[in-house]
């Protein structure tokens, strides 16, 4: 069956990804997200627009980028390269011309075929590990056609697919993708809606509804995906006893037996430089990491919340990955 030659906008592919589902995977980072989580570890994935960023340490100060910018949107200042983000159209001329890759384009438009070719290069490792491909971001459901084309092509190639979603999308979108999904990685950040709105800019109503919808879908389909829940542990936001307990309680009440893993992902500050490069402030810049005691405590809270304790896992490396690989 032919796959639709739909173009999608992605940030990059991370090969040998070990934190986004079972086995060895390649994670496809989609660009664009409906949430605005204040702690976001992938700020470059939030805007659906193509953006540019600048690495001070790589810059030769040759000013090639400034010369070639068709928008005259760049300027070298004492604080480094100033990017006029209002003027920037993301044409990438500067990045193409930059001799040292100090200026980089965030976001490129690719076809399913192009991405697939790259993804297939690690087929051997997927096979030896029971891994596959994870669509993440950003938010893959924001580019549902492309995500669908990609997942369908992957399934045809007999490759395990995982959909990493924040859950904020139309239930219809979810339904289109689920037949081609082997695993859903579903983010549950905060149970309290007010807090959710405060920290992410959006209500969690639809997210919780979609999760119930997903459960019902699993009930009614013989080839249904597995479900993992992921909760980022952000100090003073999500990493409270009350929140973790409430999420667990929600899962116990509504999804008992459906969730095979609930991952508590420890806060990581290694994305600090990403904010700097995007000329954004980050309120967590000075936030220390969770201590192992804090993490262990939250793990205990989760395990005592009524869920099957064996599904609770903690991890601390997810975003550290991202920092190392995005260059």
């Amino acid at each position: 069956m032919m796959t639709p030659s739909k173009r999608g906008r992605i940030l990059h592919l991370q090969r040998l990804s070990t934190e986004d589902g079972p086995g060895i995977r390649t994670t496809v980072f989609f660009k664009g997200c409906p949430l605005r989580c204040v702690w976001c570890h992938n700020p470059e994935s939030i805007s659906p627009r193509v953006e540019i960023q600048w690495y001070a340490v790589r810059c030769l100060n040759c000013r090639t980028c400034i010369r070639v910018c068709p928008q005259q949107g760049l300027e070298m200042t004492a604080d480094g390269l100033r990017i006029d983000r209002k003027r920037c159209r993301g044409c990438g001329t500067c990045a193409e011309a930059c001799p040292s890759n100090a200026v980089e384009v965030l976001g490129r438009d690719v076809t399913v075929e192009e991405v697939l070719e790259e993804l297939l290069k690690d087929r051997v490792y997927y096979e030896t590990s029971g891994g596959g491909v994870t669509l993440s971001g950003g938010e893959p459901t924001m580019q549902a056609d492309f995500a669908l084309g990609l997942m369908r092509a992957l399934q045809e190639a007999n490759i395990h697919t995982a959909l990493d979603t924040c859950g904020l999308c139309l239930d219809a979108t979810l339904e289109i993708l689920l037949p081609f999904t082997d695993l859903v990685l579903y983010d549950l950040k905060l149970i309290d809606d007010e807090a959710h709105q405060y920290f992410t800019g959006q209500s969690n109503r639809r997210i919780l509804e979609n999760l119930i919808h997903l459960r019902n879908w699993i009930d009614t389909h013989s080839h249904a995906p597995k479900l993992w829940i992921r909760t980022p542990l952000i100090p003073n936001a999500t990493a409270t006893d009350e929140n973790v307990y409430s999420i667990g309680n929600f899962l116990a009440r509504n999804l008992n037996g459906y969730v095979t893993r609930w991952e508590l992902c420890a806060f990581n500050n290694l994305c600090r430089d990403k904010y700097t490069r995007l000329n954004r402030d980050w309120q967590y810049a000075e936030q220390p990491l969770l201590s192992s005691d804090e993490l262990a405590h939250l793990e205990d809270v989760a395990k005592s919340s009524g869920v099957d304790a064996t599904i609770v896992q903690t991890s601390g490396a997810t975003r550290l990955q991202e920092e190392t690989w995005s260059r």
Binding site: S100, T128, G130, G316
Partner: protein, 838 residues
């Protein structure tokens, strides 16, 4: 599960564990180094003639750091040499007989015989510098060939100074037929020599062949006579011993030594005793302790006696205790120059390799209980350097072995062993058989019995000398010569005299590169210069091979290598059944990336002209920083799983390997074969070779063996691995490869090092992923993999506080080194290497 926290102490260096008081004492004693009352430092021995010498500089032509010390070493050993009372007929004998007799005399009658407290194995002193045993005429001729005007030494220095690399006939680096000694005893070897000698005609007996066989017979009695001496010492100690257990041990050792290594071993203890004594005498025979004298598949040939002794009541832990004593003995090889430098003679340049597990007939896995016992010994003894283990993996490797391997990697600072990959390795050896016409000696029925020597160099066992470190060639030199039409880009300046050489066309005249219109024209020039540099190293090697063949026989070692007895020919003269000289190519990725950069910058994107590029290189990129950045960041690179770039890699690989197969040594008939080891030359020669088109300035490191250039592998470990597999020839798309569907253009194998963050092994789930990565490596990767599991912060800390990290081991292209014992440049380089975080 743990997460990184700032409160806890961050690092813990692997500590030995589960050591008995005996082994703990021996291990601690060993690490006391110069403070020990006993050591195994060199003693020198002379015939007493004024022209005598001991030091054989040929062994060190491949170690440029030692060039300036040749004369000093030679004189020092001469000065400290003790005279040996010669047999009245000594000077009437042939050279091999003189050598055999002299070495036996020193080992059996002159060197003290000592047993360390608690030691279960005899055989302590073996580091010797013995007389070359040359008569006046021979010594004069040899010295003229080596040190005279236009001699080998001068040619070697020239080759190194001009950035081609180095070459020299070097000792070690083979796997003697130790299995035979255990099976048949030296008696079996001696009787065969005798049989063959007796069959010679009277004329043959008077000739070269007869002399060689007589020499080998003398040598073959050396282990018997030495064992008898040690046996007496054990008995003497037993009489003085008050502790009944130790007394029993000493008496048992005495009994063992009365039997082995002359007779076949009957117990595991005897087998290990026979192995050690036989092995240490190889190092003595060559006056060359350690480097590459390898043991082969110990878990296979010792296994029958392991099983037998277990069934006869040997405690498994006692069996391991014997092995641990063996480990301590192997490390005393380093004592040779124990007073040199701050590390008690411990250097990176050794490598008594043992091979574990791997494939057997029909693809079956050969892992057994002894494999696991030895892994336990390594685990419990680590960190310690010798012997270096190499674990062979393949498609049929059992989960249990992989679990053990990955657990050990996780608990050490880096893998305490090298991993070898059977399918890819065997494909290379089958190719070698075809290329050199020895399919009757290497084929599907025995290729699985191969084993690596030294670091990772694949050879056959017991009949093969492959000269795996003897010729080291900088492929990048051909790029330089192609850019200049055969000249050095920057003429050589002698650092001693300050004189700069007049520009001379040393290479081929391949035309003015500035006039080339297409990349293909440049490629042709590069190909011509590659043929030139291969020819040059072949010619250089020939010269030291000739000196060794004429003047440095090793009759004892010859007894242990099939072919020498049958032919009555010393191993140094090409006696081995399988004789190869391996050209180890250095700078592979730098060369490929340079060609890719030339194509990209000059021809595809026309970012600069050839003239501008050449000027930038002459200026060492100074004033050309933008172009340099484009070369580094914009041009494609090998190691990213980019098919186009990797295709260039394969093209470079095919070219130089094909060229290598065209040659044999003239004086000994050994076939040249290709490999990629590159030891530490990629660091030091970076200061000799000028700037390269890939953006590297002079003084920065070249690429290491098969590895992508530093920092080039930005697509992660799987891409890196896939690229490596592709440039070795990949797999057969349709039909068959040389082994199953595999191809491998490097029968010697290629060193591939990857550094991973410890976080990748932090819990069982991630360890399972790492196991799967290794199984993926079996499918897509190269012949050998070294895993570093180190964190850059830790290394920086070790650099600042070496006193806290004395036992921190790192692996550098095929060998272990104590991090604090290596130079700052190499330390910096290891830190700079991208730590792959999973």
């Amino acid at each position: 599960m743990t997460a990184t926290t700032v409160e806890k102490p961050r690092y813990q260096i692997k500590a030995p564990k589960n050591l008995s008081p005996r082994i703990q004492w021996l291990r601690d004693y060993y690490f006391r180094g110069v403070q020990r009352a006993w050591n195994n430092e060199y003693t020198a021995w002379t015939t007493g003639t004024p022209w005598d010498f001991q030091y054989n500089e040929l062994n060190f032509y491949i170690v440029p750091e030692t060039y300036t010390f040749f004369q000093t070493f030679r004189s020092s050993y001469c000065q400290m040499a003790h005279p040996v009372a010669l047999h009245p007929d000594f000077w009437r004998w042939s050279l091999p007989e003189r050598r055999a007799w002299f070495n036996r005399e020193v080992m059996v009658r002159y060197l003290p015989k000592e047993i360390l407290p608690g030691d279960l194995l005899a055989g302590a002193r073996f580091n010797v510098q013995t007389s070359a045993c040359l008569n006046k005429r021979e010594a004069k001729e040899r010295d003229r060939m080596v040190m005279g005007r236009g001699g080998v030494r001068e040619a070697v220095f020239w080759f190194h100074n001009h950035g081609y690399g180095n070459a020299g006939a070097t000792g070690g680096h083979l796997i003697p037929d130790y299995a035979r000694v255990i099976r048949e005893g030296w008696k079996g070897i001696y009787e065969e020599l005798q049989r063959i000698y007796e069959r010679l005609s009277a004329q043959e007996k008077r000739g070269r062949k007869g002399a060689q066989l007589r020499a080998m017979m003398i040598a073959a009695t050396m282990p018997r006579d030495l064992a008898a001496e040690y046996s007496r010492e054990c008995e003497r100690l037993a009489q003085e011993e008050s502790d009944p257990t130790r007394r029993w041990e000493l008496l048992q050792m005495a009994k063992n030594l009365q039997r082995v290594p002359w007779e076949p071993a009957q117990t595991f203890w005897q087998a290990v005793q026979a192995l050690w004594l036989t092995h240490m005498l190889v190092m003595a025979d060559e006056n060359y302790p350690g480097p590459g004298d390898s043991f082969g598949r110990v878990d296979q040939y010792l296994f029958p006696l392991w099983e037998r002794s277990l069934s006869e009541g040997m405690d498994r832990e006692f069996g391991k205790e014997i092995l641990k004593c063996f480990w301590v003995h192997c490390n005393t090889a380093y004592d040779g120059m124990i007073r040199t430098g701050g590390n008690q003679g411990i250097t990176a340049g050794f490598g008594q390799l043992i091979t574990l597990s791997g494939m057997g007939p029909g693809g079956q896995d050969m892992t057994n209980d002894l494999t696991y016992a030895i892994l336990e010994v390594i685990d419990e003894m680590t960190p310690i350097l010798e012997p270096k283990p190499n674990v062979r993996l393949h498609r049929g490797t059992p989960e249990a072995l992989l679990d053990k391997v990955v657990d050990m990697i996780a608990s050490s600072q880096g893998a305490p062993f090298l991993l070898n990959f059977d399918e890819r390795s065997m494909a290379g050896l089958i190719l070698q058989a075809k290329k050199s016409g020895v399919e009757h000696l290497i084929n599907e029925s025995n290729v699985f019995d191969y084993a690596p020597v030294g670091c990772l160099e694949n050879t056959m066992v017991g009949n093969d000398r492959s000269g795996t470190v003897d010729a080291n060639l900088n492929l990048l030199k051909a790029v330089e010569l192609a850019l200049t039409g055969g000249y050095d880009l920057i003429p050589f300046t002698d650092p001693m005299t300050g004189k700069t050489e007049k520009p001379k066309r040393w290479g081929e005249d391949t035309g003015d590169a500035r006039r080339f219109q297409t990349f293909e024209e440049f490629w042709e020039a590069y190909a011509t210069q590659t043929r030139h540099i291969v020819k040059r190293i072949v010619d250089l090697y020939e010269r030291s091979e000739e000196v060794r063949a004429r003047f440095a026989p090793t009759p004892y070692l010859s007894c242990l290598v099939k072919g020498c007895t049958e032919k009555g020919l010393d191993i140094t003269q090409g006696g081995a059944e399988l004789g190869y000289v391996t050209i180890e190519a250095v700078t592979f990725a730098t060369t490929v990336d340079s060609l890719l950069a030339i194509k990209y910058l000059v021809f595809d994107k026309k970012i600069c002209t050839m003239e501008q590029l050449i000027q930038a290189l002459r200026d060492n990129w100074v004033g050309h920083e933008v172009l340099q950045a484009q070369a580094i960041h914009k041009a494609p690179k090998y190691g990213r799983d980019d098919d186009e770039a990797d295709e260039m890699g394969l093209r470079v690989m095919k070219l130089w390997t094909e060229e290598t197969w065209k040659y044999k040594t003239r004086c000994t008939g050994r076939q040249f074969r290709p490999g990629m080891l590159s030891w530490n030359y990629w660091v030091s020669d970076g200061f000799i070779l000028p700037a390269s088109p890939d953006g590297r300035p002079k003084g920065r490191f070249l690429s290491n063996a098969l590895c992508p250039s530093n920092g080039a592998d930005i697509k992660g470990p799987t891409a890196n691995v896939n690229s490596v597999g592709k440039v070795l020839g990949g797999k057969a798309a349709e039909g068959k490869g040389d082994w199953a569907e595999y191809f491998n253009l490097l029968p010697n194998g290629g060193s591939h090092t990857m550094t991973f963050s410890p976080s990748l092994l932090r819990d069982p789930e991630h360890r399972a992923k790492f196991k799967a990565f290794l199984r993926g490596y079996v499918e897509n990767g190269g012949t050998a993999l070294q895993i570093n599991l180190i964190d850059a912060d830790m290394l920086r800390d070790a650099q600042r506080h070496p006193e806290n990290y004395r036992h921190l081991l790192v692996r550098v292209t095929g060998y272990n080194a104590y991090f604090t014992s290596i130079g700052k440049e190499l330390q910096d380089e290891i830190i700079a290497r991208e730590a792959h975080r999973i």
